[in-house]
């Protein structure tokens, strides 16, 4: 009887490979449909592989001849299974979306390169959690980076911002890769190449070395996850990539950074000391706050969603960090709870971020613009997209009954748990973390009300928005799939408890103290229960009853133009824009955001007292990027300029270099 995990994973990879071949060889009119379907099949197979692994069917295999020098080793355990499930689900949804989104003209997302690279990207994302040796892991990681870079560059002919975004992405992803490479190779040089070998050897490694490896890997994985201050690639790449790629990157790829951290920190390095996880939690807190503050003032819809990804990754890292801190201070139950919250949040975020990015893609397709200040009035013209986007926004804003609220509730419970406040660091850190989560949640609600309210409601603010039309059926179906997944996670979250227990077991942690009653999320040991099903039912019944009562008993509804104080009809210019909506919050966070303001006053020629025109421009830059990265880039550029003097084109100097190098090598060889 073949192993279900193996069968499913191999099916997923084979589907992806056929998808890649189809993308390269088929004519444009068939390409999108075939590749989309094959991607859907690959995603479903990946999801099933994850489910199989989470129900206990661990699997491993060794293919030494596939790669020279090191061979390929794959192993799927509980932790891999969780991320396979996540990536498979997102891939399946994006596959359906691509059928309609990539179109039939063979340009942009429908081109041969894009359709060839897309299945390779999803396949590499499925392989990363399954990698069981350092070379396999690094190979799959780099494959994922390269294919995603190609996909980000898809529309480089149409938009001029795509190229700088791709350069940033390439540089930062390679920098992250180099640090992970150094860290893992350092570990491998002491403990061996196989993950199983590393696991048995690390208890004997010195804490200083473990700490160094952890920090190097943290740098690389946090950069991939989009944690502040390693985030500047994220708003650029996610905004400029085509929307289905943005969905894949934001929902699935950044989670692999979290996977890497869990795998290296908890599994390979055996848990570590408290200060590692304090660093992770601090990064998480910074990401959460900075991400959401930048998101609330963003007027580009996809930039808003990208910074929101940064914020949610921050919350996940907070959970992971606190899990580590609880574990290393001897509180395994609370640690498992915090880890459960972080894992649940990764999958919840995958669900609603896919939905939101696919919705943004529909909007950009229909109106041609991402600028919230130009949108509006879409609720009448794109009713299905608006409804589905609003459902995603409810989840993203962490409001009940959405699924974002469930994982946030669990995270808060783990921080408020009476067993966890041992030691000064935790006793002070937990309330600070609660305050940060609360502020993030509050500003997050404002962000999504802005996105839905100014982007979709009332009147269109430009002719582009006025000319919008509803998206094709496949795109709406994909969004509906994502919305259904979010609804399931919101109403019966307790379904995930056995899976989380399996993940905890594979990380050699205790099972989270949560009950498995389907209709409620219940924490054992303390009085903490939350009934999401009853809450949803209660809300639906109450709203329905009031609406029906109003219709039957009350007077009929009138329609009239909005009250405009009696003088003239309201124009679209009189509506609140996204910039004005966020202005009070921008003023409050002025010190963090430091907006750049330009004021140009042109006077009339005859008199300096009369003004001809005033031009005012406000831009909100990414302050961390300006303070941290610009000096670094300038320094590297100067270094490069200086290094150019080493290669002036004079043959004698090159010959001298070669001679010196030869002498050094000979001397070194003799001395050795």
């Amino acid at each position: 009887m073949t192993d279900p995990t193996a069968t499913a994973l191999v099916t997923a990879l084979v589907s992806a490979a056929s998808g890649a071949t189809a993308g390269l060889s088929l004519p444009a009119s068939w390409r999108a449909r075939v590749v989309g379907t094959l991607l859907f099949l690959s995603g479903v197979a990946g999801l099933l592989a994850g489910l199989a692994a989470l129900s206990g069917h661990d699997w491993q295999t060794d293919l030494p001849d596939l790669l020279p020098l090191a061979g390929i080793k794959l192993a799927v355990d509980g932790l891999s299974g969780w991320f396979l499930l996540l990536i498979g689900a997102v891939t399946a949804t994006v596959g359906v979306y691509t059928i309609g989104y990539a179109g039939r003209d063979g340009h942009g997302p429908g081109s041969r390169t894009a359709m060839f690279t897309l299945p390779l990207f999803t396949a590499s994302m499925l392989l990363v959690p399954a990698a069981a040796s350092v070379p396999t892991f690094l190979l799959c990681w780099e494959l994922m980076a390269v294919t995603s870079l190609l996909l980000v560059m898809t529309e480089h002919r149409r938009h001029e911002q795509v190229r700088p975004a791709s350069v940033w992405y390439a540089a930062m992803t390679q920098a992250g890769f180099v640090t992970v490479l150094i860290g893992l190779v350092w570990l491998a040089s002491i403990a061996g190449l196989d993950f199983t070998a590393i696991r048995t050897t690390t208890p004997g490694v010195s804490p200083a070395v473990k700490g160094g490896v952890f920090l190097l890997c943290l740098f690389g994985f946090a950069s991939k996850a989009g944690a502040v201050p390693l985030h500047p690639w994220l708003p650029r790449a996610h905004a400029e990539a085509p929307s289905h790629v943005s969905a894949l990157m934001s929902a699935a790829m950044v989670k692999l950074g979290v996977y890497g951290l869990l795998r290296v920190g908890f599994d390979l390095l055996g848990g570590g000391t408290g200060w590692w996880w304090l660093t992770v939690a601090a990064l998480g807190a910074l990401s959460a706050l900075y991400g959401i503050v930048q998101a609330v003032v963003a007027t580009d819809l996809k930039r808003l969603l990208a910074f929101s990804t940064s914020e949610n990754i921050g919350l996940v890292l907070l959970g992971v960090g606190f899990a580590g801190m609880f574990a290393s201070s001897g509180q395994p139950a609370v640690a498992a709870l915090a880890l459960a919250a972080a894992l649940l949040h990764t999958i919840n975020h995958a669900g609603f971020k896919t939905l939101l990015f696919l919705g943004a893609g529909s909007v950009v397709n229909a109106t041609g613009t991402r600028d919230l200040d130009q949108l509006g009035g879409l609720s009448k013209r794109m009713a299905a997209t608006t409804a589905l986007f609003a459902a995603g926004a409810l989840a993203a804003a962490a409001l009940p009954p959405g699924n974002g609220f469930v994982s946030e509730w669990l995270l808060l419970q783990s921080l408020l748990h009476p067993g966890g406040h041992t030691g000064t660091v935790l006793a002070l850190g937990a309330p600070v973390a609660v305050a940060i989560i609360a502020l993030t949640a509050g500003v997050g609600v404002a962000t999504y009300v802005k996105a839905v309210g100014t982007g979709f409601l009332a009147r269109p603010r430009s002719s582009a928005a006025a000319g919008a039309h509803e998206s094709p059926l496949s795109m709406i179906a994909a969004m509906a799939m994502a919305a259904l997944a979010c609804a399931a996670l919101a109403i019966v979250p307790a379904l995930s408890v056995p899976a989380i227990t399996q993940v905890a077991a594979s990380l050699r942690l205790q099972a989270p103290p949560m009950g498995t009653n389907l209709v409620s999320l219940h924490l054992t040991g303390i009085t903490a229960t939350f009934w999401p099903l009853w809450l949803t039912v209660g809300l639906v019944v109450a709203v329905g009853a009031l609406a029906v009562a109003g219709r039957t008993v009350g007077k009929a509804r009138r329609r009239a133009i909005a009250w405009d104080c009696g003088d003239g009809p309201l124009t679209a210019r009189m509506e609140y824009t996204a910039t004005s909506y966020a202005e009070p919050l921008q003023r409050i966070f002025d010190d963090t955001l430091a907006p750049e303001r330009d004021l140009d006053v042109t006077h009339e020629e005859e008199s300096a007292y009369h003004i001809d025109a005033i031009r005012y421009r406000q831009r909100i830059p990414d302050r961390i990027e300006n303070r941290l990265y610009r000096p670094l880039i300038v320094a590297i550029a100067r270094l490069g300029e200086a290094a150019r003097r080493l290669a002036p084109g004079v043959m004698h100097r090159y010959l001298a270099y070669m001679l010196t190098a030869l002498i050094v090598v000979l001397v070194a060889g003799v001395i050795r």
Binding site: S379, K380, A398, L399, P400, F405, W409, L412, Q413, L416, H421, A427, P431, V434, A435, A438, L439, A441, G442, A446, V449, V452, G453, T454, L457, A458, R459, T527, T529, F530, W531, L535, G538, L539, A542, V543, L546, A547, G550, G554, K555, R557, R558, R559, A560, I561, A562, W563, D564, M574, E575, Y576, S580, Y581, A582, E583, P584, L585, R587, I588
Partner: protein
Amino acid sequence: MTELMAWLIAAAQALLLALLAPVVMGVTKTVRARLEGRASGRVGQPWRDLRKLLRKPPTSPTDSGIFFTAAPPMLMATSLIVAATAPFITTVGVAGSADLIVVVGVLLLGTVALTLAGLDTGTAFGGMGSSREMTIAALVEPTLLLSVFALSARVGSTNLGAIVNAGNADPEAVFTPASLLAFAALAIATLAETARIPVDNPSTHLELTMVHEAMILEYSGRDLALIEWASAMRLTILLGLLANLFAPWGIATTISLAWVVAGAGFFIVKVLGLAAVLAAGEVFVAKLRLFRVPELLAGSFALALLAVLASYVLA
């Protein structure tokens, strides 16, 4: 049998709060009027206003969609759900089973429904009110959740029934510094959440000073009735939570008719008393300008943080 009783009591609790809410508004208006030297209207006047409004037809702007129409029932539904499940009369069964974090989230959901409606009207005032309301709601969240932390640290749980029972069992816990600081923080947060002075003036006519009122300028008839009623219920709910979290004496801890009725009586007295204190306080304070409100909320956050630290150090 007790399961059915529990559900009935929860429904009765929700009904009691719905009936009591306009009376609470009436009491605040009467107390304020008397202190200002006016002859006030009757305490039941808000009931007459609601009855008249329910009989009038609602109006929707032509550019608005489902968000405008759905906001009044949504606001009312969230208020009813919190009224039914938070411990006001009793801590037993469904009526005392709410989790404090969930209550905060559900109330925020109601606020969000109204802010989206404000944007859906397409008017400048709607957008302005919506933007200000969301700014204030975002800044109140840290205070609310840190107060939750302070309250739950004492008891080891965020379940409202457990917190109220613990307070009932240990009456002296009310007068600890942590408790008093948390009360002060929650009181300021209540003022912000329910749009009272000094954060917002509920009876202003100047649109540029409005926060909550600006979002509902477009509503009429039974929509307006539902919104006014739900807002009054939110005030009653928050005053009731303040009363029962910090002074839970009199709440029914067993399901027997006599105790439940007595619990209801105590609750009504406490809430009306708090409403009178609120109204009296409003006479002495003026509304803050919008960009001073973050300073006030930062102050309440500091109080909540002190409450948490005090609960570690002293309790």
